[in-house]
C-alpha cells in the first residue's frame, strides 16, 4: 500500500470507531434524560365518589397534575346536549365530569365559573363548556380525560377501564 492509502485506511478505521462510539453515547445520553422508573411507577389515585356536591368543582391530584371532578345537578344533566353527553361519566346513579385540569393549549389551569357553568383559561383566553368542550380558541380540543376505571362507587385514575377505552376509541379524548 502507498503511504496515502495507509493514512486513508487509518482515517476510515478511526471514523468507524468514533461513529459507533458517538451513536452509543448519544443513546446513553437520551436514556439518561428519560423519566425515572420511580416517576413512571407512581401513578394511581383512587377517588371515593360519595363526597362530591352538585356544581361544585373539586381539584384532585394525579401524577402531579390537577384533575377536575364536577358532579352535575339534575338540572345540569337535563341541559346537556348529545355532544356533551358523550364526554360525561356515570358512576353509580350520578353523572360527573372528570378531566385533566390543564388547558390543552399550553397547560395553564382554567378556572370554573359555577354561575355561568363554564371554564375560562386566563393565560390566553381559551374557554370551555361545562363538560370541558372548547368554546373559544386557542385550545385545539376539549380538556383531556385521564385513564380511569370505575370500581363500584370509586374511580381509579391511571388504570384503563372499559369505559375509558371506549372514549379513546371514539376519539372523545386523546391518551395522556
Amino acid at each position: 500500500m502507498t503511504d496515502k492509502n495507509r493514512r486513508g485506511f487509518i482515517g476510515k478505521a478511526f471514523g468507524a470507531v468514533a461513529g459507533v462510539g458517538a451513536v452509543a453515547s448519544l443513546y446513553a445520553m437520551k436514556k439518561s434524560w428519560d423519566p425515572l422508573p420511580s416517576v413512571k411507577a407512581a401513578g394511581f389515585t383512587t377517588l371515593d365518589m360519595s363526597g362530591y356536591k352538585g356544581n361544585e368543582l373539586i381539584t384532585e391530584k394525579w401524577r402531579g397534575k390537577p384533575v377536575f371532578v364536577l358532579k352535575y345537578t339534575p338540572e345540569m344533566v337535563a341541559s346537556l346536549n348529545d355532544e356533551q353527553k358523550k364526554r360525561v361519566l356515570k358512576i353509580g346513579s350520578d353523572t360527573y365530569m372528570i378531566v385533566l385540569g390543564l388547558c390543552t393549549h399550553l397547560g395553564c389551569i382554567p378556572g370554573y365559573n359555577p354561575a355561568e357553568k363554564a371554564f375560562l383559561c386566563a393565560c390566553h383566553g381559551g374557554t370551555y363548556d361545562v363538560t370541558g368542550n372548547v368554546t373559544k380558541a386557542p385550545p385545539p380540543r376539549g380538556l383531556d380525560i385521564p385513564p380511569f376505571k370505575i370500581v363500584g362507587n370509586t374511580i381509579v385514575l391511571g388504570e384503563e377501564g372499559e369505559e375509558y377505552k371506549k372514549l379513546l376509541a371514539d376519539g372523545i379524548t386523546l391518551s395522556v
Binding site: D34, I109, P140
Partner: protein
C-alpha cells in the same frame, strides 16, 4: 529543540515562551478600528462586561442555592436574601444584569440592522450574534426556573408544552424534556445543570466565535464606507494618525469604549441599588404550586414580543408564527437583497421598514404584557400580522432598491 537564551527580565522570559509581544500586537495594538463610529459601537463591550457580572454574581449565588424542589425557594428568598452577608447584592446584580443584558442586546442588534452591518462579508458576525441571542434566551429561561416560585413553575409548564407541537401531540417529547409528567425534581435539576454549566460554556465559546468573525471584515462605520484597512493602518503606523481612517484597538479605542462602559455601569448600579424590583416578578415570590395557576402568566419583558406572536392565534397557527419569529432574524442577511451596505437613512424604503419594525416590536412587547382580552387582543393580533408582513416585504423592497 527550540533555542532559549537567559532571560533579561520577566517580560523577556515570558516572551520567549509565550510570544506575548506578538499576541499583544495581533490582538490589541495592531487591531484596527474605524474612526467614524459612535457610542453605539461600544455595546459589544457593554455586553461582555455584563456577562462578566453575571458570571461573578452567579458564582456567589451558587454557594448557597439548592437545586431541590423542597428547598430551592427558601435557599434563594430566605438564605441568600436574609442570611448571607451581601447575598442580596449578588442576587440583585444577577437579576438586573439578566434583564438589562437583553436591553443592550436589542440595541446592539438594531444598531447592526440600521447600519447594514450584516452584509458584504459580515454575514458570519450576524449569524454568530444570533446564536448568542438564542443561547442567552435559553440561559435566562433556565435561570428563571431556579427560584422555584409560581412564575418559574408555570413558565416552565407553558414553555415545555410548546414542544408537544400542537396537533402533533408529542407528549412523550415533553415528558422527556421534563423527566416527569410535570415540572418536578428531575426538571429543576436538569435546568440547573444547563443554567450553571452547559449554557454558560456554550456562551463563552460563542463569544469567542463572535470576536473571530469580526477579525477579517472589521467593524462597520457610520457611513458604510469601504476602505483598505492595510493602507490606513500603514498611514497610522507611519505617524499620520490624523490622516488615517483607523485607530488601534488598544489603548486608543479601548479608552473610549471603557468610558461608555463607565456611564453604563453608573446606570446599572443605580438599578441594582434603587430599582432592582423591575427585574423581580412579584408573583415569583409565591412558592411553586402545581395546583394553582397565577391569574395572568407572562414571560419576562424581553420575551414578550415573540410571546405576543404566539398568543393571538389558534394553537397550530400560533406555533407556526412563533417558529417564524424565532428564525427570521437569523435570515436577515439573506432576505435583504439590496447591493448597498450603507446606513438606513441612505436607503429609501428600507429606512421606513427599519422604523416600522422597531415600532412593531415595541407594540408587540407592550401588548404581550396586557391580559389577552378585548382591544389588547385585537391590537396584538394586527401587530403579529404586521410583523410577518414586514418580513415578507423585506426581500421585495430591498430588491427594488437602486444601487448607490
Amino acid at each position: 529543540m527550540a533555542h532559549f537564551t537567559k532571560a533579561t527580565s520577566l517580560h523577556d522570559w515570558l516572551n520567549q515562551r509565550l510570544a506575548i509581544d506578538a499576541v499583544r500586537r495581533v490582538m490589541a495594538t495592531e487591531y484596527w478600528i474605524p474612526k467614524d463610529i459612535n457610542f453605539l459601537w461600544a455595546m459589544g463591550m457593554v455586553l461582555a462586561i455584563t456577562f462578566a457580572f453575571l458570571l461573578v454574581s452567579g458564582i456567589f449565588l451558587l454557594m448557597y442555592y439548592q437545586p431541590n424542589v423542597k428547598t430551592a425557594f427558601d435557599s434563594v428568598n430566605y438564605t441568600i436574601m436574609t442570611e448571607v452577608d451581601f447575598g442580596w447584592l449578588w442576587r440583585h446584580v444577577h437579576g438586573v444584569a439578566a434583564s438589562v443584558v437583553f436591553l443592550v442586546i436589542y440595541i446592539h442588534m438594531f444598531t447592526g440592522i440600521y447600519y447594514g452591518s450584516y452584509k458584504k462579508g459580515r454575514e458570519m458576525i450576524w449569524l454568530s450574534g444570533m446564536l448568542l441571542f438564542v443561547t442567552f434566551s435559553a440561559e435566562a429561561f433556565s435561570g428563571y426556573m431556579l427560584p422555584w416560585g409560581q412564575m418559574s413553575y408555570w413558565a416552565g409548564m407553558v414553555i415545555t408544552n410548546i414542544f408537544s407541537l400542537g396537533d402533533l401531540h408529542l407528549n412523550g417529547l415533553v415528558e422527556w424534556i421534563r423527566g416527569d409528567y410535570v415540572p418536578a425534581q428531575a426538571f429543576l435539576n436538569r435546568f440547573f445543570m444547563l443554567h450553571v454549566l452547559l449554557l454558560p460554556l456554550a456562551i463563552m465559546g460563542l463569544i469567542g466565535l463572535h470576536f473571530a468573525t469580526l477579525r477579517i471584515p472589521h467593524v462597520n462605520n457610520q457611513e458604510g464606507e469601504e476602505f483598505d484597512f492595510e493602507a490606513e493602518a500603514e498611514k497610522y503606523k507611519k505617524g499620520d494618525k490624523k490622516g488615517s481612517k483607523v485607530i488601534a484597538f488598544a489603548n486608543d479605542f479601548m479608552s473610549k469604549d471603557m468610558f461608555v462602559v463607565s456611564i453604563y455601569l453608573i446606570f446599572f448600579f443605580y438599578l441594582v441599588f434603587f430599582h432592582y424590583d423591575f427585574a423581580m416578578d412579584p408573583v415569583n415570590f409565591d412558592p411553586a404550586d402545581g395546583l394553582k395557576t397565577p391569574t395572568h402568566i407572562y414571560p419576562e419583558w424581553y420575551f414578550l414580543w415573540s410571546y405576543e406572536i404566539l398568543r393571538p392565534f389558534s394553537t397550530n397557527i400560533g406555533l407556526m408564527a412563533f417558529g417564524f419569529a424565532q428564525v427570521i432574524y437569523m435570515l436577515l442577511p439573506f432576505l435583504d437583497r439590496s447591493p448597498n451596505a450603507v446606513p438606513a437613512h441612505k436607503r429609501g424604503a428600507f429606512k421606513i421598514w427599519f422604523w416600522l419594525l422597531l415600532i412593531n416590536m415595541i407594540v408587540l412587547t407592550a401588548m404581550g404584557k396586557m391580559p389577552p382580552e378585548g382591544i389588547f387582543s385585537t391590537i396584538g393580533f394586527f401587530a403579529a400580522l404586521s410583523f410577518i408582513g414586514l418580513w415578507i416585504a423585506l426581500p421585495i423592497i430591498t430588491k427594488a432598491e437602486r444601487k448607490l
